[in-house]
Structure formats: structure tokens, C-alpha cells
């Protein structure tokens, strides 16, 4: 199983278990780019292997994720800090689930605090075309996932 496929499976579980959002695998090149704002959530890891997990996810999906996780209306997630916080936690949980799958449960990794920022359409297109990047449709919204392992 490739890192991308492993990340696809992990993100599918995280969206479903934390927020009851249902996801299915998609083709990154064929997935329709989101119309609205998109966030990049990124977390780096270091241990037996070193690398980073990057998730490109529509803000609308992050809002839904945060609202369902907290059990509130999407309208209550109304400030950027809360949206960024939820995107970072998504990356954090996904990395914690992914690393034992790709390196084994005996390996210990140090994670950096995750980061989040807005990206533009050009960055989405470039990331979608990158080798090894996987995609999901989360309630019909495209999400891109990349796992880069350096050593």
C-alpha cells in the first residue's frame, strides 16, 4: 500500500469517526477543484522516518468538520481562528493515525505543531498533479492528501 493510499484510508476514518462526514477515494487529477476558499493543513514528523503530511481541504468542509465534532451549527464556526484550529487538529489526528500504519506501532515520532493557511487555485492544481498525492471526496467536496517521506 502506498503512503497516499494509507493516508486516504486514515482520513476517511478520521472524517467519519470525528465528524460523521463520509468520504470516498477519488482521482486527484479528475477531482473538481473547490469553488470557495481552500486551506492547507500541514504537520511534520521526525523519527524512524522524516517527512510531512499535507492536506488541502475546502474551508466549507473544515467548518462542517468542526461543527459536527463540536455538536454545534456550522454557522457557529464563524471566525477564521476556529476554522484554522480545526484544520490543524485534522492534520494532527491524521498524522497520529497514519504514522503507526506506515512505520509500525513500535516506532516513536516527534510531531511539529501543525500549521494552516489559505491557498490559491494555482497551488491546488500543482499539488493535485504531484506524484503520490491522493484524493478523497468528502460529502462530494474534493480533498487532497500528500505524504512526503524524506528519509
Amino acid at each position: 500500500m502506498s503512503y497516499g493510499e494509507a493516508a486516504q484510508g486514515v482520513l476517511t476514518r478520521v472524517f467519519e469517526e470525528m465528524a460523521m462526514l463520509f468520504a470516498e477515494p477519488a482521482d486527484p487529477a479528475g477531482a473538481t477543484p473547490p469553488v470557495g476558499e481552500v486551506l492547507e493543513a500541514k504537520i511534520r514528523f521526525q523519527g524512524a522516518q522524516r517527512g510531512e503530511l499535507t492536506i488541502f481541504v475546502p474551508t466549507e468542509t473544515v467548518v462542517e468538520f468542526a461543527a459536527n465534532t463540536l455538536g454545534v451549527d456550522a454557522g457557529d464556526i464563524d471566525d477564521q481562528e476556529a476554522v484554522f484550529d480545526a484544520a490543524k487538529e485534522l492534520a494532527n489526528v491524521a498524522a497520529g493515525q497514519l504514522l503507526p500504519e506506515i512505520a509500525g506501532v513500535e516506532q516513536v515520532f516527534e510531531l511539529t505543531p501543525p500549521s494552516a493557511r489559505c491557498i490559491d487555485a494555482g497551488e491546488w492544481a500543482a499539488f493535485a498533479a504531484r506524484a503520490g498525492v491522493a484524493a478523497l471526496l468528502v460529502e462530494d467536496a474534493a480533498v487532497l492528501i500528500g505524504v512526503e517521506v524524506i528519509a
Binding site: V14, E17, M18, A66, T69, L70, G71, E81, A82, D85, A86, K88, E89, N92, V93, A95, G96, Q97, L99, P100, V105, E106, Q107, V108, F109, E110, L111, P113
Partner: protein, 127 residues
């Protein structure tokens, strides 16, 4: 006996989920405090009588393991039940955490039921 609880996590989302779980679960919870990292947690612990602390591991400024080590050094762990809530999936790391004398380890993503069960177990053990 109502437990005063401190929740230490750099994610406001996680702090809110744990807070909400504790409030709706009908548990004997007294005052609830929050901190974004270990250093803030030490400040809260210095000022308030906390019975139960939930803490993440991976946080800026001071992580959960360093926080627990400082509490062990100061002898504060004797009167404080610590529950680690983390994404950490390494069994080696989880073993290391448990050997530090924490009451429980809850892996993210967690269900409200897991948190409720942990608090019930801690409540039984302290009182």
C-alpha cells in the same frame, strides 16, 4: 465529590469537545480550567486546586510529557489524576507515558463515552 478539571491542549476545538463531553455527561465536575500548553498549565495548577487534568502530548512552549515530568519532580502528581489525550499511536510512547504514573491514556479521535468512562474510573479511584 466534585472534581476540578484542567484541560491542556493547544487546540481550542479539542478543549471544547472535552469540556462539552464533561458538562453533558452528568459527571461530578466542579470548576473547569483550560490551558494551551504545559507552561500555562503549571500556572493554573499553582493557583487552583485541580483534581483531574487532561493533557495532550504535542504542544508548543511545553509539551505534555515535560509537563508530567515537572509535576512528578514537584510531587504534585500524588494529588492529581492525569489523563493523556493524544493522537500518539506508538505503543512504545504510550508505554512510556503510562510508566510516568498517569491514570489513563485516551487516543484521538475519542468518543464522548471514552472520556466519560475515564472520569468515572478516576472518580472511583479518588473518592
Amino acid at each position: 465529590m466534585n472534581l476540578n478539571v484542567l484541560i491542556v491542549d493547544d487546540s481550542k476545538t479539542v478543549r471544547s469537545v472535552i469540556t462539552k463531553t464533561l458538562r453533558v455527561a452528568g459527571l461530578p465536575i466542579g470548576d473547569l480550567y483550560e490551558a494551551e500548553h504545559g507552561k500555562q498549565a503549571l500556572e493554573v495548577l499553582a493557583e487552583h486546586a485541580i483534581d483531574l487534568m487532561f493533557t495532550d502530548i504535542n504542544m508548543p512552549e511545553m509539551g505534555g510529557l515535560e509537563l508530567i515530568d515537572k509535576l512528578r519532580e514537584s510531587g504534585r502528581m500524588a494529588s492529581l489524576a492525569v489523563v493523556v489525550v493524544s493522537t500518539e499511536g506508538s505503543v512504545k510512547r504510550i508505554r512510556e507515558v503510562m510508566e510516568k504514573g498517569v491514570a489513563a491514556y485516551v487516543r484521538k479521535p475519542f468518543s464522548p463515552e471514552q472520556v466519560r468512562q475515564v472520569v468515572e474510573d478516576v472518580t472511583r479511584s479518588v473518592g
